[in-house]
Symmetry: C2
Subunit: 321 residues, 2 copies
């Protein structure tokens, strides 16, 4: 079964690639079948030389929409086959003017009937289902040259790009995000321990069902890009933990907005004690905690510091209102 039917217009590029490969390979077979002494890749250049008599390398590359090195190579190959000859330009000594040799003229004349057959077949194919595929291609190309796919895509996405971050509460289907976003930064700074894996892989069991909370930061364009949890460690006592932002999205204040949101939620829930345990290596995080109202606290360290191997910093939220 053909999967491209299921992804629709989104797969148009790959689909066209497949289509053109099919046509090109059929053309290749025609050349083989009728033992024509030319390669299909030369086709457009040879057709042009037949009609226009002479072109320079760069000129041809522009007209055919191929790179200059590609034409430079065709030129050499056709020279080897003696199908073309080079002439100098009167005004510009850098230019190489390609033109058909006597042999080239003869070969092309003789290839003509086969090309005519391919053309008839292509026209038949193009018109078979009522509409004219060839005309549709021309129309599509002209739409494309008015405004490229990239520009159009950007326009469609621009609107969403600057939308605010929104925050979502835990849902089962978001579990993977909690795991992946945290795994990324923990592995980056420490070694992922078994206790980490357990919590990250089963956040529902280990956080939510224990009375804790998890939130996610969602960007309109990039989806879920950050997460943060509150682990319940006693009545009205919560440890802020597993806060992370995708590395590709850092530097956009997403962490700050997320932390702010979590603090607001904690306040709304009338949390009595909000604290966190971390490590000196996490400098930028600590800087952020300090900025939003967490203060270093020896008492917290003594009470909870032992829970984690890598803990050497403990902070408590100090409401400044």
């Amino acid at each position: 079964m053909d999967y491209f039917n299921e992804i629709g217009e989104l797969g148009l590029g790959s689909r066209l690639k497949r289509l053109s490969d099919r046509l090109m390979s059929d053309a290749q077979s025609v050349y083989t079948e009728f033992e024509l002494p030319i390669q299909p890749k030369w086709f457009s250049l040879l057709a042009m030389l037949r009609a226009k008599h002479s072109v320079s390398v760069v000129d041809a590359s522009e007209r055919l929409g191929l790179s200059q090195p590609a034409l430079s190579q065709f030129c050499r190959q056709l020279l080897d086959e003696k199908l073309i000859e080079l002439a100098a330009d009167d005004k510009d000594a850098r230019k190489k003017i390609m033109q058909l040799s006597a042999k080239g003229i003869v070969v092309l004349e003789n290839v003509q009937p086969v090309w005519a057959g391919v053309e008839k077949a292509a026209i038949e194919l193009s018109k078979e289902e009522g509409n004219d595929f060839y005309q549709a291609v021309l129309a599509f190309e002209s739409s494309l040259s008015r405004k490229s796919l990239l520009e159009r895509t950007k326009e469609h996405l621009q609107a969403t790009k600057n939308e605010e971050i929104v925050f979502l509460p835990f849902e089962k289907k978001l579990s993977s995000f909690f795991n992946v976003i945290n795994t990324e930064w923990v592995e980056d700074m420490f070694v992922l321990e078994d206790i980490d894996k357990k919590v990250l892989q089963q956040p529902e069991e280990n956080i939510i069902k224990q009375g804790g909370h998890i939130w996610f930061a969602k960007h309109a364009l990039y989806g879920i890009v950050g997460t943060c949890a509150l682990l319940k460690t006693g009545e009205g006592e919560f440890e802020l933990t597993k806060m992370g932002v995708l590395s590709s999205m850092r530097g956009q204040k997403i962490g700050e907005k997320l932390l702010q949101y979590v603090i607001e939620q904690a306040k709304a829930m009338k949390v009595k004690k909000l604290y966190l345990l971390t490590n000196k290596k996490c400098e930028s995080a600590i800087h952020l905690y300090e900025k939003l109202g967490f203060v270093h606290c020896e008492k917290i360290m003594q009470t909870y510091g032992g829970h984690y191997e890598r803990c050497n910093v403990a902070m408590r939220y100090q409401s400044n209102t």
Copy 2:
């Protein structure tokens, strides 16, 4: 200026290639612009994994219309990026079942909005000129799968393939054929001498204007494939010379038909003496001459043999009627 507009449907394959390259490169730019951590070439596989959950390598290659090694490589690359995981098949230990990893699921979710933007842009582009380009592509694909371009081309050419050879008298625009066809075999057997070049490059001056004749054999499918000249060397005296058939067309009795035709023409012109000068190396040609009524002749050798450096065989046509 775009040369493809001038060659029409014949250039459809190359044109579609260019079009798909443009779309793919735009897609590439979208990925770069929005810093998505996936490569465009993975797109169709990832889209499939997102929808279908799991596929084997060969299964995916068939559904996507790519080769198995291509999918095998995508599989490795996606494994390196940790976007997929491999599972074993219960029944077949050879199979590798690909499925998205937790990271893969997260990345794909986050890529989703961008894909949606590309899709919107593609739909817009496809429908901009009234008709629906996407639908036209589907229709074209279905026509193609009913009967390929190759099959259709063969059908169109089959009719002409078995048509008879026809013979044409000299025309200025056919000069190149006289030159190229003869140059090919002469260079193959001997060294092309200055006298050869002169006659071949200017057949009108050196043969026609001297009262001689040139004919060409034309194949319906392959065009001009053979040529032969009668050089006037006296009143009612003609030397049969410069007879050649394109090497790619040998073994199809074209030489025989051509020689037969030239002999008929000579008879119709009431030629008194028809002879030829050649070299022992040209065995198959000599065999043909003998078959059609030429006999070895010492007198011809003495009279005309000195004209050519490489002449060591002389023959005269002996009408057998």
